[in-house]
């Protein structure tokens, strides 16, 4: 395989060059398959690819050297031998006057890989000056070629300079330890006979300036700028002495300068490239080196860049949006005349042909409103508007609209079923259905095993997905709503007893989360939300309890009265074999729940009773009281009965309970009398009543009556009761005693039993 002379090109030698290339390719493949052959094969091809070889062989050879010296399969140590062996050939290739650009580019690339290896080698083998001299000669030759070379060669020169800077500056040890990236000035010993660390670092500083020159002279040569920026990252991150200089230069660089020139397709590519490359570099530094002292400046720069880019590039996007509106002939949405006679509306049945889902549910005739995409609104706004509207809407209109939509769906369903009989409509358009499921992980791509992505994101994506638009031609009404062919198997028939059991189970499940939600009492006191508090909005245990109480009192209001009288607000109790209604099941469970730990759950009891009371008021107002009657009184009595039997003298919560529940009645307060049968709780009962007398004027009379009854009925309670009566109902006792003929009347009933 002797090299043919390049100076005598003939058809014969051309054939032999092709053959040689083929043989070289085969040899390269052997090296790729088995790395142990690298050494032998590289050394073997050196004579064939030297500076006097034909251009094709020189190109192949230079690229093969670049590949071999860069290969990750050999460790830096293994490359030493190889590197020392090729330096001579590399030097020869670089020295050739007027060398081919491809050969130069590859040779300099090979030299960039050789440099750290040779540098490391000379540090450890200072006696072997010859190879270091060769490397130094290569270095100065490359710096000589650099200016004025064709672009691809300059690219390689930039990269070579980067490797020199990397090797000749002190490292902070953050770089990966392979491919010579970790070769740095740290490896130098103070007393190296050949090298002077300060001199080397000075050279590196100079080289870095030369590299950065392309940014400073505001060059618009995107190729060189991109190439420079894209190899600065490792310097800025791992060579602290270069970091400030690099970042300052990049931050002073304006990648959008080109944007002022006329925007040819090529300029667009260049501007975009410069902008994105600069931004990627800076965000990369921000992310990988967040503690960088320039982080603030970088952040500002990136934000400013993003804004400027938006101004330059997004103009087209904005214009297109307007054009779309115009072509769709939606008219001028801003100047739509408002409809004055609102009640006059009708719901036209949909014509034949495909309709989007939105069209089916659109009942306005206003073209501007029809075109409005509700999904653009934030969710919380939508829910607020919906709630307001539902609260204020006239029932008649709502019914009218619902029946109108119902008719539309019925007709569409009929049309769809007919069409489905003829042909199966494609439920998913396989060609346009979005395929990749959106990922929300950032560019970091840390392999985490969280199973799915944010539901909301997916829904958002679905919302933006196109396939909801009308598909197909006008004739095919069924294609619009492919609801037709699929029917669920009918559920097993449900008799009232199973239904009731199931609903009980459902009600019981409502209480499930309470045990897992954290108890607010144990934590620090939460700040009071005040009057603007929105019920059940804090997503804690309290919220859930609010939900439960409302489920019990309001959920089925007006729904499950079997009778014909409409608008009944309080539900009628069905007392068939099915037993309790859903509301009562929940009431029952709530009652049990409170009594399980009534001292701590008295607040819940109060909240519940408030809800019951409110609901009763609504029922009274509407004049429709269900068969079950009002609930508040029943529940209150039951609760009081429930915990009175456990009460002790220390249970001040009773006072609080009575003070806070919304309404007090004689029977309710009457229950307190039972407490006076036990001498230990007399004081509690009477203090609670006194509190009511003092603090709740509306019930003062009832409370005093109860005290009076206590005075009358319970001997043991008389001293205390008398004390209150004297103060709040002066003359009562005198009246009583006088009426009884000067004697204190004996208690009429409920004689206190000594305990």
């Amino acid at each position: 395989m002797a090299a043919d002379s390049a100076s005598t090109p003939s058809s014969n030698s051309a054939v032999s060059i092709a053959e040689q290339l083929e043989q070289l390719g085969a040899a390269r493949k052997v090296a790729l398959e088995n790395t142990t052959y690298y050494d032998r094969i590289v050394k073997g091809v050196l004579p064939i690819i030297g500076p006097t070889a034909p251009i094709q062989l020189r190109r192949w050879g230079a690229e093969f050297l670049a590949e071999s010296l860069a290969t990750p399969v050999l460790a830096t140590r293994d490359k030493e031998n190889l590197t020392i062996a090729v330096l001579d050939t590399l030097k020869g290739l670089l020295d050739g006057a007027g060398e081919d650009a491809i050969v130069l580019k590859a040779s300099i690339s090979a030299a960039a890989s050789a440099y750290p290896v040779a540098f490391r080698w000379i540090i450890h083998n200072s006696y072997h000056t010859e190879s270091w001299e060769q490397m130094s000669a290569i270095k100065s030759r490359i710096f000589q070629i650099w200016d004025g070379a064709p672009a691809p060669v300059r690219l390689s020169c930039i990269k070579f300079a980067q490797r020199v800077v990397l090797a000749q500056t002190p490292s902070n040890g953050m770089e990966q330890k392979y491919n010579g990236l970790d070769v740095s000035l740290n490896m130098m010993t103070e007393s190296h006979p050949l090298l002077d660390a300060r001199q080397l670092e000075a050279e590196a500083t100079g080289l870095l300036d030369r590299m950065l020159g392309v940014l400073q002279e505001s060059s618009s040569d995107a190729l060189l700028v991109d190439a420079t920026i894209n190899c600065l990252s490792i310097l800025a991150r791992t060579r602290p002495s270069t970091s400030n200089r690099i970042l300052n230069t990049v931050l002073n660089f304006n990648p959008l300068k080109l944007a002022n020139s006329p925007m040819t397709p090529k300029t667009k590519v260049l501007v975009r490239s410069l902008e994105k490359t600069t931004r990627m570099f800076l965000t990369h530094i921000l992310r990988r080196d967040p503690g960088n002292q320039m982080a603030g400046r970088i952040q500002q720069y990136v934000e400013r860049l993003t804004r400027s880019r938006a101004e330059i590039f997004d103009e087209a996007g904005r214009k297109r949006a307007l054009a779309d509106q115009a072509t769709a002939a939606y008219g001028d949405a801003k100047r739509q005349k408002a409809e004055t006679d609102i009640p006059q509306f009708s719901i036209p049945p949909l014509g034949p042909g495909p309709h989007s889902l939105a069209a089916v549910f659109t009942i306005t005739n206003n073209p501007g409103l029809q075109a409005f995409d509700v999904t653009q609104l934030p969710d919380h706004l939508v829910s607020r508007i919906s709630v307001r509207t539902l609260a204020g809407i006239d029932q008649k209109f709502l019914d009218f609209a619902i029946s109108g939509i119902h008719d539309r769906l019925t007709s569409l369903y009929a049309a769809g079923a007919a069409a489905a009989a003829a042909s199966q409509p494609a439920v998913i358009n396989a060609a346009t259905a979005p395929l990749g499921v959106e990922e929300d992980d950032d560019d970091d791509y840390e392999p985490d095993l969280t199973p799915a992505e944010d539901t909301e994101q997916i829904l958002n994506k679905l919302d933006n997905a196109p396939p909801e638009e009308a598909i197909g031609s006008a004739a095919d009404a069924g294609a619009a709503l492919p609801l037709g062919p699929f029917t669920l198997p009918p559920p097993p028939t449900l008799d009232p007893e199973t239904a009731s059991k199931l609903s009980q189970a459902a009600a019981a499940r409502v209480f499930g989360p309470l045990s897992s939600l954290k108890d607010p009492g144990t934590g620090t006191r939460r700040p009071k939300a005040g009057i603007n508090r929105l019920a059940a909005s804090s997503y804690d245990r309290d919220s859930w309890l609010t939900l439960i109480t409302r489920l019990a009192t309001r959920s089925t209001a007006g729904l499950d009265d079997g009778s014909d009288n409409s608008n009944t607000i309080v539900k009628a109790e069905k007392t068939g074999p099915s037993g309790m209604s859903l509301g009562d099941s929940i009431r029952e469970l709530l009652f049990t729940y409170i009594l399980e730990d009534w001292r701590r759950r008295i607040e819940i009891a109060v909240a519940w009773l408030c809800e019951e009371w409110y609901n009763d008021q609504l029922a009274k107002k509407s004049g429709m009281v269900g068969a079950g009657g009002l609930n508040y009184e029943k529940c209150a009595l039951r609760l009081v009965d429930g915990f009175l039997s456990y009460i002790t003298a220390q249970d001040k919560v009773l006072t609080r309970f009575l003070a806070e529940i919304p309404e007090l009645s004689r029977p309710l307060l009457g229950k307190l009398k039972a407490l006076c049968a036990d001498p230990t709780t007399v004081q509690l009962a009477l203090t609670s009543l006194l509190y009511l007398v003092m603090m709740r004027p509306p019930v003062r009379e009832i409370a005093l009556d109860t005290v009076a009854e206590i005075w009358t009925e319970y001997e043991d309670a008389r001293p205390l009761a008398a004390k209150y009566l004297v103060k709040w109902r002066p003359g009562f006792i005198e009246l009583q005693t006088r009426g009884a003929g000067g004697e204190v009347p004996p208690p009429t009933s409920n004689m206190a039993v000594a305990t």
């Binding site: 007027g98 081919d100 990269k159 190729l223 190439a227 791992t238 090529k266 560019d443 791509y445």
Partner: protein
């Protein structure tokens, strides 16, 4: 995708993508999308059919494919799961669904192209690829270093460029990283595939012209447009390509392996 795209690209490509292997110099390509399933694999196949050396990767953390509902994607690990095993699993789960949404069809195609999805971040650039004897597009990429990386989504381009910055460019090899925004569905992937082949052809033509010029002429000629080097002509070629494919916005940079 509307008809504005695709006219120019199909000129040199026959119906099924097969064509004569007519040039001796080939740029080496690498296609990248999120899961190395749809867009990058369509590009992989089309480039391989056009006789370009090509490999492909995904930049996501996991391979994600649509599942029965939007919140239940099928998730697989990169580098450890073969297209064939995914195919068989989905075929066993719900053949009707996965045939209807085109997944089985896509996986069936992919398993004929290479063994399984590979993750960009785990790829060791320059590691010889001599064992992949059945991969399509393997010829010419034995050295494991492509000249051009084509990503199919801005996010993937960002991931690739950031990853290259992070690796610290140990190989000293320049690489053009080009993004073409392609929507992730079968139809757009197919259109995107044609666009990728069109771009590859245009780039390869420019690279061949550079190769055909021999010797110091290049050195002396300076900046004459037609004499410009391949690297310099990439933005220009991409700009012209963008005019032909206005609906596939492109981004480019020159980075380093």
């Amino acid at each position: 995708m509307d008809t504005a795209n695709g006219d120019a690209g199909s000129a040199s490509t026959t119906q099924n993508g097969q064509r004569e292997d007519d040039s001796n110099f080939k740029l080496r390509f690498c296609t990248v999308c999120a899961s190395n399933q749809n867009r990058s694999m369509e590009g992989h196949l089309r480039l391989a059919q056009a006789h370009y050396p090509v490999i492909s990767f995904g930049t996501g953390s996991l391979v994600r494919l649509p599942g029965p509902t939007i919140t239940q994607p099928n998730v697989y690990k990169f580098n450890e799961t073969s297209y064939d095993s995914i195919y068989r699993e989905l075929d066993a789960k719900d053949p009707r669904l996965y045939r209807a949404n085109g997944l089985l069809n896509m996986l069936g195609r992919n398993r004929d192209i290479k063994w399984g999805p590979e993750r960009w971040q785990d790829w060791q650039v320059g590691l010889p690829r001599v064992k992949n004897e059945t991969d399509q597009g393997r010829v010419g990429l034995e050295g494991g270093v492509p000249d051009i990386v084509i990503t199919c989504e801005e996010r993937c381009w960002d991931a690739v460029v950031d990853d290259l910055l992070n690796r610290g460019s140990p190989l000293n090899r320049s690489v053009h990283v080009i993004n073409i925004d392609i929507k992730d569905n079968h139809q757009d992937a197919s259109v995107g595939g044609s666009a990728i082949v069109d771009l590859a052809d245009s780039l390869n033509r420019a690279a061949m012209e550079e190769r055909e010029r021999v010797g110091s002429a290049v050195f002396d000629a300076g900046g004459a447009g037609s004499r410009a080097s391949f690297d310099e002509r990439v933005p220009e070629v991409l700009g012209e390509w963008q005019e032909r494919w206005p609906n596939l916005p492109a981004t480019w940079t020159l980075s380093w392996f």
